[in-house]
Structure formats: C-alpha cells, structure tokens
C-alpha cells in the first residue's frame, strides 16, 4: 500500500505520472484504446473518432480559456478555418495530409493571433463578444470566398494517403485521429510544467503581477491565442478528413458553445478535464438518442415528445453538473483518487 509520495530528485518530482503503477495503467489503457477498431462496430467507432477530435479542440480552448483566462466564442470559426485550409491545401496543391494538418494548424494559429489582438485591451465578456464577431466574419468569408472554400456548396476533401494506403474508413482514420490526439495531450501536459505554460496561468491569476514578474503580456497572450488556435485548427482539419465534405453549415456557432461546455463541465484549467468534458458532451446526446429510440419502440406515439425530452435532459444534466461539481469532472476524479489512495485509512 502506498502511504505517501517520497521523491529523491527534482526531476522525479516533476514527472507527469507519479508512479510506475500509473504508467502501467496508462500503457494498458493505450493498448485497449488502439485495439478498439478491432471489435467496435463502425457507427460506434465514428462516435469514438468524434470524441478524439473533440479532445484536441477542447484542450485547445482550455489552453486559452481555462489556463490563460481569455474567453473565446470563436472556436467554431477557428475550426472552420482549419478545415477549409486543410481542404484547400489538399485539393489545390495536392499536399499530403501530414503536411496539410500542421499547415492548417499554423494558418489557424495566425488567424487566432490576429483575433487575439483586442484581448490586450478588453477582458471577459467583452472579449467573448469580440471573438463572436470573428465567428460571423469567418462564416461570411467562407460563404463568399467561393474560389477557395467552394461557397455554399462546400468543399470535398481528398482522402489522406500514406504511400498507397488510403485512410478513408472509420478504422483507419481512428488511428490518425488518436495519434494526433495523444501528441496533443502530451504537448499540452509538458507545456504547463515549463516556462510558457506557467506564464499563461500567471496571466490568468494576476495579470499585473505577471507583468511585474517579467512576463511580456502582449507576447504571451498572443502566443496563447496562437497555440490554442493551432490545436483547434488541427481538430478542424481532422474533422474535414472525417466528414469528407465540408460546407459553411458544418461549423455552426453551437460548436463553439459545445466546446465551452466541454471545458466547463470537464474542468477549467485541466488537461484531464478537457478529455472528460469532450467525452461527456460528445457521448451524452448519443446515449440520449439511443435511449429515446429504445423507448420509442414501446411507446410509438411518444416519439416526437421523446425527441424534445432529449434536449431537456441534456440541459438538465449540464446544470446538475455545474451545481454539484462546479470545478468540473477533473476535480471529482481527483477526490475519488485521493480517497482510494489511502483506503481504508483515509483519515
């Protein structure tokens, strides 16, 4: 039984995973994760893939909102930019996917930094409004700039190819998405135990004293917008590959709100929280839909009412979560873990 943390070097005190046990569990989890395509049917795998994309996007938004304290409603727009630039690079220049995805991320990062400029002057809800404006500008641009985006008709994305292997099934794209997602999670984890990430948190907690401590607010706020948008842009690019056809309607404002929901329910300022939130918000509507379709078999005349109920239950669950666990699922996970760590001598 573990009775405490004993470290003999600073390096071991700064590792991500505290014990060998945690590493073994993680290894097992990864094995389980990557064997999913073997036995999970296509439709469910599609949901799993969407969760993977949501994880990348939610971490991106959490970097900006949860860790740096800059509220953004521009997530759907950033995602759209990532998706359309990925599609454009793929169709017009015939670039392979492993260049398209990072380039789409970089283009989005550049745009995100541009949108982030007002954050130097405005905070909180006002910044949310400014990013909301960015959303509608992007939406307008996508509809009107037909030569690049294909306008209302949309853009069909060439399937990614690795040599002669075409990544076009749910199974193959699963590996693409989750390899990117794992890199994204590790990068974010490392980011927040080194200089740049800590500067972000300092800006969130106390901008004035962060500046006095030598943090260049201009540089780091824009950097946060850049990194966050890079993540969201990559998520958008993956979404494009998964959807195969994208149009302006693929990225409504509700996506931005869903992502805010993910990080709030999962836990602001927590990487693990972003993952939980992404799973919860993506899975919940699917579970409710399965539930209602199962029920509608026995109550055929209630089918319309059950569909409406689904939305209600979704909203209710979110509210209940916020009341009983305002710090998000990540903090609940921590308290459960701490309880079992010293069980049965928890006091």
């Amino acid at each position: 039984m573990r009775c405490g943390d004993f470290k003999t070097s600073y390096a071991s005190d700064m590792t991500i995973f505290e014990s060998g046990f945690a590493r073994v569990m993680l290894g097992l989890f990864l094995c389980l994760l990557f064997s999913l395509p073997l036995y999970v049917p296509g439709y469910l795998l599609d949901i799993v893939n969407r969760i993977g994309i949501a994880i990348i996007g939610a971490i991106g938004l959490n970097i900006l909102t949860g860790f740096t304290g800059q509220i953004s409603l521009g997530n759907a727009a950033f995602m759209a930019i990532g998706a359309f630039s990925c599609g454009y690079l793929g169709t017009k220049f015939g670039l392979p996917f492993y260049l398209c995805i990072p380039l789409a991320g970089l283009i989005t990062a550049f745009f995100g930094m541009f949108v982030g400029i007002p954050s130097l002057r405005i905070k909180g809800l006002y910044l949310a409004m400014a990013t909301l404006a960015a959303h509608f500008i992007v939406e307008f641009l996508i509809v009107k700039w037909e030569s690049v985006t294909g306008g209302v008709a949309g853009l069909s994305i060439p399937a990614p190819k690795l040599g002669s292997f075409v990544i076009d099934t749910d199974k193959s794209i699963f590996f693409l998405i989750f390899i990117v997602a794992i890199i994204a999670v590790l990068f974010a984890k490392n980011l927040f135990r080194t200089k740049v990430g800590k500067a972000f948190v300092a800006i969130r907690d106390q901008a004035v004293s962060a500046e006095v401590m030598g943090v260049n607010l201009l540089k780091y706020k824009l950097l946060s917008f850049g990194i966050s948008s890079f993540y969201v842009g990559v998520a958008g690019a993956l979404m494009a590959y998964q959807a195969k056809i994208i149009s302006p309607e693929t990225f409504p404002i509700t996506i931005a709100i869903d992502y805010l929901g993910m990080i709030i329910i999962g836990g602001l300022g927590s990487i693990l929280g972003s993952i939980y939130g992404a799973i919860f918000i993506t899975l919940l509507p699917e579970l409710l839909r399965m539930g209602t379709s199962a029920l509608s078999g026995s109550f055929p005349d209630l089918i319309n009412k059950l569909a409406a109920m689904k939305e209600l239950v979704f909203g209710l669950l979110v509210i209940i979560f916020l009341i009983f666990e305002p710090n998000g699922m990540a903090s609940r996970w921590h308290s459960i873990k701490n309880y079992w760590k010293l069980y049965p001598f928890s006091h």
């Binding site: 600073y10 200089k195 800590k198 907690d205 401590m213 030598g214 943090v215």
Partner: protein, 258 residues
C-alpha cells in the same frame, strides 16, 4: 554608489496630483524606507519606480540608465523586483509554481522545447527548481511548497510573495508594506528575512512600512512623504527630529490654545 535616483517625479491622475517634485537617491546595498501618512503617495512612488505608473514629469535613473518610460517587465529584466500591498500572488498555482514564475526571465526553453520536454528543457527546469528550493529553504516554507497559494494563511502568503520576488534574483527589491496585518511573531520573522536578504544577498531594499519601530530599527535612510511632497529625508535619527515630520504625524501645536 547610487543605484537608483528619482528626480523631480510628478504624477497626476486627471486633476489629482499624487506626486509633485519628489527626488531622492538610493545607495547600493542600503535599506531605504518610504514613510508617510495615508494617501501621501508612497505606493504611487513605488509604482513609478517599478513601472506600473509612468510619471508625467521627472526621471527614474536605475543603475545609470533612464528607465522612466520602460514597461515593468523591462525593469524586471534589469534586476528590479517588487511585492504588492494587497498580495498579488498567482492564487490558483502552487507555491513552487509561483516561485518558478520568478525564474521566467532566467529560463530560455521556448514553446517547442518545453512542449516536447526533451533533454535541455528538462535539465533547465530541474536547475531552476533547485534555485527555487534554496529560496524556499531560506524563507522556511518547505512544508507548504506544494500548497495552492489561495488556500494559505495571510502571513504565509506575504512570505511567499517575498520568496517569489527573490526568485527573480533581483539587485533592487521594492516591498510595499511587507509587515502589514501581521502579528508580532510574524513581523519579527519578516524583519529577519528582510535583513538577511539585504545583508547576506546584498540586495538593496526600498520599503514602504507603517510600523515605525521596524522602520527606525532597520533602515539606513528614511524618506518622508506627505500630500505627494517629500518633506524630509535622512537617517532615522534625523527624520525623527525633523519638525515637518512631527507636524505631519502629530499635527501642529496651536499657540492660541492654553
């Protein structure tokens, strides 16, 4: 040697004149106190030195360089550090992370190397962690190094704020009321830490403080402000005898009254 020299500082907020024509010099390695009644402009003066306010007139010369127009982080780069009157720690971070922010300017690993945490970035992180641990030991806060700052008691928070400022490796330390709201024991500890900082580390200290006993005991030079003007300056003994100071603190004797 003069380390910091402020000359003819004038600071206005709209029509309100917070500071008018304040000048003083701080010698390398001394403890310099700024005192004065409430609203005398002490904190404004400190903000002018650290760069949060930019005076309309006058110059701040730090180590032979005009820093009057430089933003705060540029002054921090040149070796200034400060604490705040109403604790401005990063409340959501642990004590050690607060100190690591102090190492921000000394660390060079960027976004990519930090994000992938390969060799040099990790070595750098460990090296700076070690430096922070030395400060933690110096200020006797080992037991709370992993605690989230927002959950700590007031006296500890004050101490952590001093620790964070020391993590910057400053040559000039500005302290805004380091002893405010502390009990006797905590004040004694704080005085000990400030003196050790000054003597063992050779850091020049500029301090605003209301506890006159402390000020008169540990300062080499005292500067007295009242209504935005400097009314006296010199050694603690000189200042105590100064009629302007007595007037500002105790009021004037009315000759008409019997």
């Amino acid at each position: 040697m003069v380390q910091l020299s402020c000359s003819d500082i004038q600071l206005n907020f709209g029509g309100v004149r917070a500071l008018s024509g304040v000048s003083f010099e701080v010698q390398q390695g001394e403890v310099f106190s700024i005192i004065g009644p409430n609203g005398a402009g002490k904190s404004s003066m400190l903000n002018c030195i650290s760069g949060l306010y930019h005076p309309q007139q006058g110059t701040v010369i730090y180590e032979n360089q005009d820093v009057t127009r430089l933003p705060p982080y540029e002054r921090t780069k040149r070796g200034m550090a400060r604490s705040f009157q109403n604790i401005a720690l990063f409340k959501g971070m642990s004590v050690i992370d607060n100190l690591m922010i102090g190492r921000h300017l000394h660390q060079h690993s960027g976004l990519i190397s930090g994000g992938f945490y390969y060799g040099p970035a990790q070595a750098e992180e460990t090296r700076h962690r070690k430096y922070c641990e030395e400060i933690i030991e110096f200020l006797e806060i080992q037991s709370i190094r992993k605690a989230i700052v927002g959950t700590l008691a007031y006296g500890f928070q004050k101490r952590v704020e001093l620790a964070r400022a020391l993590a910057l490796e400053p040559r000039l330390l500005l302290l805004d009321e380091p002893m405010a709201g502390m009990n006797h024991e905590e004040t004694e500890d704080m005085v000990r830490f400030i003196l050790e900082t000054n003597e063992a580390r050779g850091i020049t200290i500029i301090m605003i403080e209301h506890d006159m006993g402390v000020v008169m005991d540990i300062s080499n030079t005292v500067c007295v402000l009242d209504f935005g003007k400097k009314i006296a300056g010199g050694t603690p003994e000189e200042v105590q005898q100064d009629p302007h100071v007595i007037k500002a603190y105790l009021g004037e004797e009315d000759p008409e009254e019997p």
